[in-house]
Symmetry: C2
Subunit: 201 residues, 2 copies
């Protein structure tokens, strides 16, 4: 048989998610067929459908697992090494803009793409909303630490600021994609940086 | 024959674009088939393909005509009646957030949806980029007027501010959609309003 033999079901599942992530990142969820993934991986259809009986099941797992971890790995975990969490948020954000490959500026943010494409479908909506709320919540925890340690003024509304930070971060990818420009990605970063200085003055 | 007889080709074309706009707003470009539009309008296939030989032609016309006019009608034209253009931008922006129907919060912004779904395809990319640049450019013209008339401090970088205003406006729809919340739409508005006060102080 010519199909690749994945002996470890967990490894197979992870590999399917990795391949699906890239296909969907480049072609959208609606523009990706499960057959393409099956063919690329040289899987049997049975092995694929054992893990993901429907395309929705695959999409839900992508949001719940891959995108959730990606948000935490990219935007939350790196901040813990900074003494000043506010500097951490801004430096990590600037670094992610610089690290975006030229060819990927037009691909935007994988979560934002899925938001725009799928948020009106209830199964996706509740999962996407949960991850966005997690992102805001974890950002707010960083701000709470910053406030406790004297890096943010006491009267600042942390829920508002956390939501605005996430809005700026998302809009960097969205504006970069729409204008096909890394400089456009930097605009919300620069404004956020000035805005925090203003709140803190 | 049961097909509706559109005698005026320009009217037919406009009607196709109106129906296509709503279908694509609710189901995405990839999720909309030209057959659905043809059936909804009770058109002959010949009449449809006379106007739009391919689905791409339809999508391009939607961006070049419908979305372009929508951006100008919603975000640019209304500002001219305000004595202070900065108040105009912020009041019009707030009004558009309030005017968004509950059911449409999850649909987001039609242009942003298309950006996220289609910006990696060259034919769409150049058209979307042209409209985003127009939006920024027209916003910058409003800011130039505001500066000339003393409503903005002289040293403010108007290109940066115009891009950030558009980024906030887009991100209101994006965050509203992701969090299924009108309050989330208001976050970038509130921050933008404070940011402009800060620049102007």
């Amino acid at each position: 048989m010519s199909n690749r033999n994945y002996r470890n079901p967990l490894e197979t599942r992870k590999n399917i998610l990795d391949v699906a992530f890239l296909e969907i990142y480049h072609h959208g969820f609606k523009g990706t067929s499960t057959n393409t993934i099956i063919e690329k991986m040289k899987l049997t259809r049975g092995a694929f459908f054992y893990h993901f009986p429907t395309k929705e099941d695959l999409g839900y797992a992508l949001v719940d697992e891959v995108l959730k971890n990606m948000i935490l790995d990219r935007w939350i975990q790196p901040i813990s090494i900074f003494k000043n969490p506010i500097h951490g948020i801004l430096k990590n954000y600037a670094k992610l803009i610089e690290a975006q490959e030229d060819a990927h500026i037009l691909c935007g943010c994988p979560l934002n793409n899925l938001v725009q494409e799928m948020a009106d479908q209830p199964g996706f909506q509740k999962r996407i909303q949960a991850i966005m709320e997690l992102w805001v919540q974890e950002t707010k925890k960083i701000l709470e630490k910053a406030k406790r340690e004297g890096f943010l003024k006491k009267e600042i509304d942390l829920k508002h600021l956390a939501e605005f930070i996430v809005a700026c971060q998302e809009s960097s990818y969205s504006m970069g994609k729409a204008l096909n420009s890394r400089n456009a990605m930097k605009t919300p970063h620069k404004a956020l940086s000035q805005y925090i200085d203003f709140l803190n003055q």
